[in-house]
């Protein structure tokens, strides 16, 4: 099968599954409102939404534009339903593409990314189910003060290793966005709250710098 034919199919499946996922997601609040005869006050929902929607609707749309080229179509349709993108699905896909040694943007990397995201989603779902079943036993361990620093540092522990994996191969492309982000976060530490919005900014800096390097024949 040609790549384009397969792509068409992926988009068809993806749109159907995502469309159904939206309905499924709305099912929980709808059915519980009906079952308990407890429709919320519109104003409470609106005020609640005002606290989160302006930021997260923006981030959500930006993330589709940023992550879609990395994850490929199948991976994106799945990852945007199963969530936890930056801390789990995207690094997992990057890792899988390294393991399989596929080229970024190729069809091989697209299918490998989809497989990685699907496996990661299944494992996450199963671990959460196990966590809930074993909650009374797990809770004191997971909430213990001893383990607290380990979970508090999960992102540095992830991105340190990921940086080696990626920067060692593409250090010329990495320099400009790295320096830019270092200066930015050192100047405005409160931006940690908005790291999701800064991912596409970093991508734009990286694309601009690597375009110049590419045109000059340095990469």
């Amino acid at each position: 099968m040609e790549r384009e034919k397969y792509n068409e199919k992926v988009h068809l499946w993806g749109r159907i599954w995502c469309g159904c996922a939206i309905i499924m997601l709305l099912l929980f609040p709808t059915v519980s409102s009906i079952y308990y005869d407890a429709w919320p006050e519109g104003q409470a929902v609106l005020t609640g939404l005002l606290g989160v929607a302006p930021i997260f609707w923006t981030v959500g749309v930006i993330e589709v534009f940023t992550f879609a080229p990395m994850l490929g179509s199948g991976g994106s349709y799945l990852a945007f339903v199963t969530g936890n993108l930056t801390n789990l699905k995207v690094p997992c896909a990057i890792n899988a593409m390294e393991v399989a040694d596929t080229k970024a943007g190729s069809e091989e990397s697209e299918v490998i990314s989809t497989i990685a995201i699907a496996v990661s989603s299944l494992v996450t779902t199963l671990i959460i189910i196990m966590g809930i079943v074993l909650l009374s036993w797990l809770r004191p361990i997971l909430e213990s003060e001893i383990l607290e620093p380990a979970f508090a540092n999960i992102l540095p522990a992830l991105f340190g290793a990921l940086a080696v994996l990626f920067i060692s191969k593409n250090w010329k492309v990495a320099m400009a966005p790295l320096i830019f982000m270092l200066i930015l976060f050192l100047s405005f530490p409160s931006l940690t709250e908005a790291v999701g919005v800064l991912v596409p900014v970093g991508a734009l800096v990286a694309i601009s710098a690597s375009r110049i390097l590419y045109l000059k024949g340095h990469v």
């Binding site: 995502c18 469309g19 099912l27 929980f28 308990y36 005869d37 407890a38 919320p40 104003q43 409470a44 929902v45 005020t47 609640g48 939404l49 606290g51 989160v52 923006t58 959500g60 749309v61 940023t66 080229p69 490929g72 349709y77 339903v81 936890n84 789990l88 890792n95 393991v99 399989a100 943007g105 091989e108 299918v111 490998i112 990661s120 989603s121 299944l122 494992v123 996450t124 671990i127 959460i128 809930i132 380990a150 979970f151 508090a152 999960i154 540095p156 522990a157 991105f159 340190g160 080696v164 990626f166 920067i167 966005p177 790295l178 982000m181 270092l182 530490p189 970093g202 694309i207 690597s210």
Partner: protein
């Protein structure tokens, strides 16, 4: 009106149905991608390595997600956090969404919720406040991917660099974030030290793979480095925190 318990079996059933749907979607895409990978001539062994590596990598972040479920369950019971953390959301979204609605309703988030209308208000906000990603994916992904493919087909080498640059943008943003608190004193350096240890462990794994030819380690280098650095975060924090 039914009496309300945020841990009722009805809510567990509802959450379970949605989680089951997500499992079905994952299995569907896994099967389709697997078959396509075989069509493209990718060796079964490589695919199995991808599965094992992805599984190992997922364990630590997934356990962190359980922590998120626990955090939210004190207020919302288990079914809703279970559902929200198994689909779209993450704690960085779900907690502000719950807090924002609770504030609007004037209820504390430190106590278990027993008002069904407050519960459904929070469930609605959690659901609606982050739908944009899936909506945009459903509506625009085909168009976005079409354009990306055009860039890639026009100039293959630049297409590769373009995608790599986006990866780099993400990694840079998170690496930069790790340095955000270093001006606040030695405590602010803890994430930096954890990151350095993780990077060093990754390099050590690389040496084992390339110099000592321990090939299996290649697939587990990322989870090993991550878990090792998380473990080292404990003594580092005790020392500097």
């Amino acid at each position: 009106m039914q009496s309300f318990d945020p841990n009722s079996s009805f809510l567990f059933l509802m959450a379970g149905i949605v989680v089951f749907f997500v499992i079905c979607q994952s299995v569907f895409f896994l099967r389709k991608a697997w078959l396509r990978a075989r069509e493209l001539g990718i060796d079964k062994n490589i695919l199995m390595r991808v599965v094992k590596s992805s599984t190992a990598f997922t364990v630590a972040p997934a356990i962190a997600i359980i922590l998120g479920v626990i955090t939210l369950s004190n207020f919302l019971g288990l079914p809703l956090p279970w559902l929200r953390m198994s689909v779209v959301g993450s704690l960085t979204y779900e907690l502000p969404a719950a807090t924002s609605t609770a504030q609007a309703l004037g209820i504390p988030i430190s106590q278990r919720i027993f008002d069904p209308a407050a519960f459904t208000a929070i469930a609605w906000v959690m659901t609606l406040g982050i739908l944009s990603g899936i909506l945009a994916c459903t509506l625009f992904l085909k168009n976005i991917q079409g354009r990306i493919q055009k860039i890639q087909q026009k100039d293959k080498r630049w297409g590769e660099i373009f995608t790599t640059s986006i990866f780099m943008g993400m990694i840079s943003a998170f690496l930069g974030m790790i340095f955000a608190d270093i001006t606040k004193g030695i405590e602010g350096w803890i994430p930096v030290f954890v990151m350095i240890i993780s990077a060093l462990l990754m390099i050590v794994c690389g040496i084992f793979v390339k110099v000592f030819k321990i090939k299996w380690m290649e697939d587990y280098a990322l989870p090993i480095s991550m878990l090792g650095a998380m473990a080292m975060a404990i003594p580092i924090t005790n020392l500097l925190g």
